[in-house]
């Protein structure tokens, strides 16, 4: 009886040793993957920051102003060109007997 117990425990110990080693390596692998992903995120965020800055730079007023004037023939708007919806003449009431 004792011999079976001893044998089982010995086997369990060996299995546990294998298991611990496997878990250790698996953990390290996952950690490496996590770090690689975090590194990718950081790089992506850095690239986004650069792209946002570049977009802002290309759309800055002192660049667009002369381009709009030269290539699109645009001018700064005057106040007379700004109207509101209430400024529009109201639709005329349909005359009696006339179908639109």
């Amino acid at each position: 009886m004792l011999r079976w117990l001893t044998a089982t425990v010995a086997l369990a110990t060996i299995a546990a040793a294998f298991g611990v080693t496997w878990i250790k390596y698996d953990t390290r692998r996952l950690e490496a993957r996590l770090q690689a992903q975090e590194h990718q995120i950081e790089k992506a965020e850095s690239d986004i920051a650069i792209l946002r800055a570049e977009l802002g730079f290309l759309t800055r007023p002192e660049r667009l102003d002369p381009l709009a004037r030269r290539h699109l023939g645009l001018q700064p708007p005057s106040s007379a060109q700004v109207i509101r919806l209430d400024d529009l003449p109201k639709a005329a009431k349909p005359r009696a007997g006339v179908t639109p």
Binding site: L34, E42, E45, S46, A49, I50, R52, A53, E54, L55, G56, F57, R60, P61, E62, R63, D65, P76, P77, S78, S79, A80, Q81, V82, I83, R84, D87, P89
Partner: protein, 553 residues
Amino acid sequence: MPEATHLTTSDAAGSAAFSARVLLLLLVVLCGLAAIGGQTVRVATSRPSTETIAVSEPIARNWSRPAIVDRNGVLLASDVALPSLYADPKLVIDRDEVVERLRTVLPDLDERDLLRQLGEEGRRFIWIRRGLTPRLAQQVHDLGLPGLAFRKELRRVYPAGQIAPHLLGQVDVDNRGLSGIERFIDTSDLAQPVLAPVVSTRAPVRLTLDVAVQHAVRQEMQAAITRYKARAATAVVMDVRSGALVAAVTLPDFDPGRAAAADEEGRLDRLFGGVYELGSIFKAFTVAMALDGDVVTLDSVFDAREPLQIAGRKIDDYHGQKRKLTTREIFLHSSNIGAGLIALKAGGAYQRQYLDRFGLTGDLVLEGAGVAAPLLPQRWTELETATIAYGHGLAMAPVQFAAASAALVNGGVRIWPSILASGRAQPARPVQVLKADVSRQIRDLMRLNVVDAKGTGRRADVAGLEIGGKTGTADIARNGGYAERAVIASFLAAFPIGQPRYVALVTLFEPQPTIETKAQITAGVNAAPTAGRVIARIAPLLGLRAARTASAP
């Protein structure tokens, strides 16, 4: 064998004690294993640590800072991780070749300095250029020179260009704020030191500035400097109800990406950091305070035939009317004599009290920007009372004057300006410094000044936009006296004058006589038309439409 068969009591007791010891040992081992097991469970279920270990020598310590945006989110300043070029002299094979080939990519490289540094004994690290664009870095990399390497650093870039460099401020080589909003970011603990160039994840600092309006104002002021041959100019546009500074321009300015190359004139922020006697625009306050206390009415008459003599000094009018003037006419013709008489009638104590209430004598505290403190006269006698009435003897930053002028046109409520969108709101109970009726009278006077054929502000008139304002031409105080023909010409405008939404203060420093201005340098010929052009340009951007004519169907 006799010993083996003799199991004496002591042997039995001995083996029992032996078993007890084994049991105890087993228990201890089990406890130990249980502890390890428990610890394993604890570690497995706890959240992963966010500490990172950066293996880098602290040669370059960076500060990570949030971006700065305008009221609509347009990027004004942001961090980017850019490659910085350095050299290890020990690994450089041919110094001359390296410097020569680098010059093909970086034309403004200081050759002699770099050669000298590369030749220094014992140095293993030399910065060549910090913060290269990725494209330039690639070009340098393609040169294939040994001994060169890159290290990423956080660098501040200003995508909106040369638009408000004084306001935004500068950073030092480690990305720490030195002035302006950048400095504010540091003092508010929003910037943090980092070992790796990680861009900040904090929300950007939002300003009240509108980039489109700022650009328009800056462009018009730049044109005015050229047109009137002025030395410098400032312009500020403020919302009279919220105190938001929509535009704040100081010229000359500098390229924020190359702050070190800025010259002395470009560095000076005249809008916030300089105090000046602003001249006749002050008369608006003088008339307002006199009306508010019923010291005068618009029809009160004052004798402006003779110059005012006080304490051995003479106060005279420029192109004076030399007759009796009503309060209204004093405003319209901008009479110094008249303003002095009004102030003397009100009295120095009364005047001082009102200037305090308007916020013209104390420090203007603006979150995110420092404003130079006003210069008050050391004594406040009759002479000071009279000269302050027309804007001399009291010096302040133009932004402080503009902020105080909101109360003149918005119904008499004192407004505190702000440059940050999250800035302090106006007090829950409005601080009334003028009666609403007096504010209306001032608005009428300002409008009269622009529409009347003899008004000093008539050149600020723009068809369809109801602009009202006051001109001011102040002699510049220099060397204890006043400079010959050197003036600060200003125009204070409010629009639309019926129910003003904004005030604009446009100031030209030392405009010169030109053919166009018929050799005059008064504000009526330079600052007033400039203000008209500025307002005509920004009104549509601010959502103001031209007044509808009566002929609409």
